[in-house]
């Protein structure tokens, strides 16, 4: 950025900084402690996944896909599986659909817990992060029992899921949900009702509601502005049209409203998981019969699929070319637009203290911005 005013200092907020979510850097022009210009720089986590996938068969690409988004890998696996099923014309069983919904909602809960730690850490409230990361650990223990991996599961594959549920899994999940519901009250008193958090968060990072839909904002940014949109209800996939859940919406457009939206979503995730446990079909193949790896060819077509992750709508564009390789898979994460178009404008005339607060509240995740 051109710096014509001699009083402006340029600092780099990142890439190695306790106040950013992940590994990116904000180039800030400061007048005292007020930001006059902001520019986002990414590229520290560019792993070249989209080029790698062009030389990989479906089973090989599947191991790469979950690593695109670090806090919440499962929507990536779901998008990939649904795109391949859409291209190849595979139908999966009801049981597999319910298991996938269960995995996605558990991942959403774990990601919201991690967000709580990040958001509270950005304002100096370290207690919440320690508690929520422990509770997230209990969810990760269940994931390890189900899939073998704590963070990267590699469980949702085109055609269904890869393993049957272990014995007693649904009972353990039900017990964990009771425990987490009790914990939400503790989080209310330490975090959501904390007077200092409210003083920091109300009126900060206010998004312009009128251009939110047109500019492509997704997830909590919309729902925190009073606009009720959720891919699970508007463009439903798997069995979400059979499940009963609400979409929490708040009118403030600021950091506090977005925090309350996420709290509401945690409650709704627990509700959905209880319904899944009750309605899980006891019969059905968990995986369809698929051709062998080198013979699993995709037709020369393209498709676009979207899933609602904890941070917003995740979109995948996939094109096949008649061979066993995927011709093109392009990822559009929820924080691509938030991290560039929205963040650079929101930070102007903000204080330096609020940069970490706003970035955590928008859910900026650098790995999915630059793949």
């Amino acid at each position: 950025m051109e710096n014509n005013d001699n009083r402006l200092i340029k600092i780099y907020h990142g890439p190695q900084h306790p106040g950013i979510t992940g590994n990116m850097s904000m180039e800030l022009d400061l007048l005292g402690e007020t930001i006059k210009g902001a520019r986002t720089h990414v590229g520290y986590l560019h792993r070249g996944f989209e080029k790698l996938i062009e030389r990989r068969t479906i089973i090989q690409a599947f191991t790469i896909v979950c690593r695109i988004c670090v806090p919440e890998p499962d929507p990536n696996e779901e998008n990939f599986a649904r795109a391949v099923e859409g291209l190849a014309g595979i139908e999966i069983s009801q049981r597999a659909k319910y298991i996938r919904v269960m995995v996605l909602e558990m991942a959403r809960l774990a990601a919201q817990m991690l967000w709580m730690g990040g958001q509270s850490g950005s304002i100096g409230l370290g207690v919440v992060g320690q508690w929520s990361v422990y509770d997230r650990d209990l969810i990760l223990d269940l994931f390890e029992e189900l899939t073998g991996g704590r963070v990267y599961h590699m469980y949702i594959y085109p055609g269904g899921v890869r393993r049957e549920l272990p014995n007693g899994f649904l009972e353990k999940l039900a017990q964990l949900l009771d425990y987490l519901e009790g914990r939400l009250l503790a989080y209310d008193s330490i975090f959501f009702e904390n007077s200092t958090f409210k003083k920091r968060a109300i009126g900060v990072g206010v998004v312009n509601r009128d251009e939110a839909l047109k500019n492509g904002y997704v997830g909590q940014v919309l729902r925190g502005c009073g606009i009720e949109r959720d891919v699970r209800r508007d463009n439903p996939y798997l069995v979400y049209d059979k499940l009963d859940f609400e979409i929490p919406t708040y009118e403030g457009c600021d950091v506090y409203s977005r925090a309350l939206v996420r709290r509401g979503e945690m409650v709704e995730s627990i509700k959905i998981l209880r319904q899944v446990i009750a309605q899980m079909p006891s019969e059905g193949a968990i995986m369809q019969k698929l051709p062998k790896h080198r013979k699993f060819k995709l037709p020369k077509e393209d498709i676009y699929v979207a899933t609602e992750s904890a941070r917003g709508e995740f979109g995948y564009y996939m094109a096949g070319d008649g061979s066993e390789f995927i011709r093109r898979m392009q990822v559009k994460g929820p924080s691509l637009i938030h991290g560039f178009t929205l963040l650079e404008n929101l930070l102007v005339d903000e204080e330096l203290s609020n940069v970490a607060l706003i970035m955590n509240s928008l859910g900026i995740c650098p790995p999915e911005m630059e793949r």
Partner: protein, 175 residues
């Protein structure tokens, strides 16, 4: 809304709530503005580019979403791989700025009117745009990077498996 679009353009329904439209590149801005104003596909969700090297085209899909976020429309434009240039959509959609920057860096497509096409994820990149099909990643890696010391005894898995199978077969035949 879909009925309006179906009257004026040739819309194909690829899946429930997913539609596709093929247009010429010189009508891009005109058709997209008309779709934004006259139907409720007001959001640009993604600009996806595929390299069909065998047909010598780039196929760009502009994926539009409705205001209710319930339907998606893929507007496909095919441009030449050699003279790849398109008008920018920055005036219609502010989010196009970062998407066009990404495609410019990865494919070398020039978006006329967008003067913020500096680097996105790569720094000091001196080769051809990497997502083009003719960019050979293996050659690039072999030219620019060295293997760490201690990897000399790293054997090729397939060759090693073949050798062990042959050895086992030999010992079985010998018995």
């Amino acid at each position: 809304m879909i009925e309006f679009l179906k009257k004026h353009y040739e819309i194909v329904e690829k899946a429930p709530r997913l539609y596709k439209l093929q247009i010429e590149s010189d009508k891009l801005v005109e058709i997209l503005s008309s779709v934004s104003i006259n139907s409720n596909f007001i959001t640009l969700s993604q600009i996806a580019c595929t390299d069909w090297i065998e047909d010598e085209v780039f196929a760009l899909n502009y994926i539009l979403t409705t205001k209710e976020r319930d339907k998606n429309l893929m507007v496909e434009v095919r441009i030449s791989r050699v003279h790849c240039s398109l008008p920018t959509l920055l005036n219609l959609y502010p989010q196009a700025q970062v998407m066009e920057r990404d495609l410019h860096e990865m494919y070398g497509i020039n978006f006329r009117g967008n003067d913020t096409l500096y680097d996105f994820a790569l720094e000091n990149w001196n080769e051809i745009p990497p997502l083009r099909r003719e960019f050979d990643t293996l050659a690039y890696v072999n030219e620019h990077f060295d293997f760490r010391i201690g990897r000399e005894d790293n054997k090729d898995v397939k060759a090693e498996v073949k050798r062990r199978k042959a050895q086992a077969k030999e010992s079985k035949d010998g018995k």
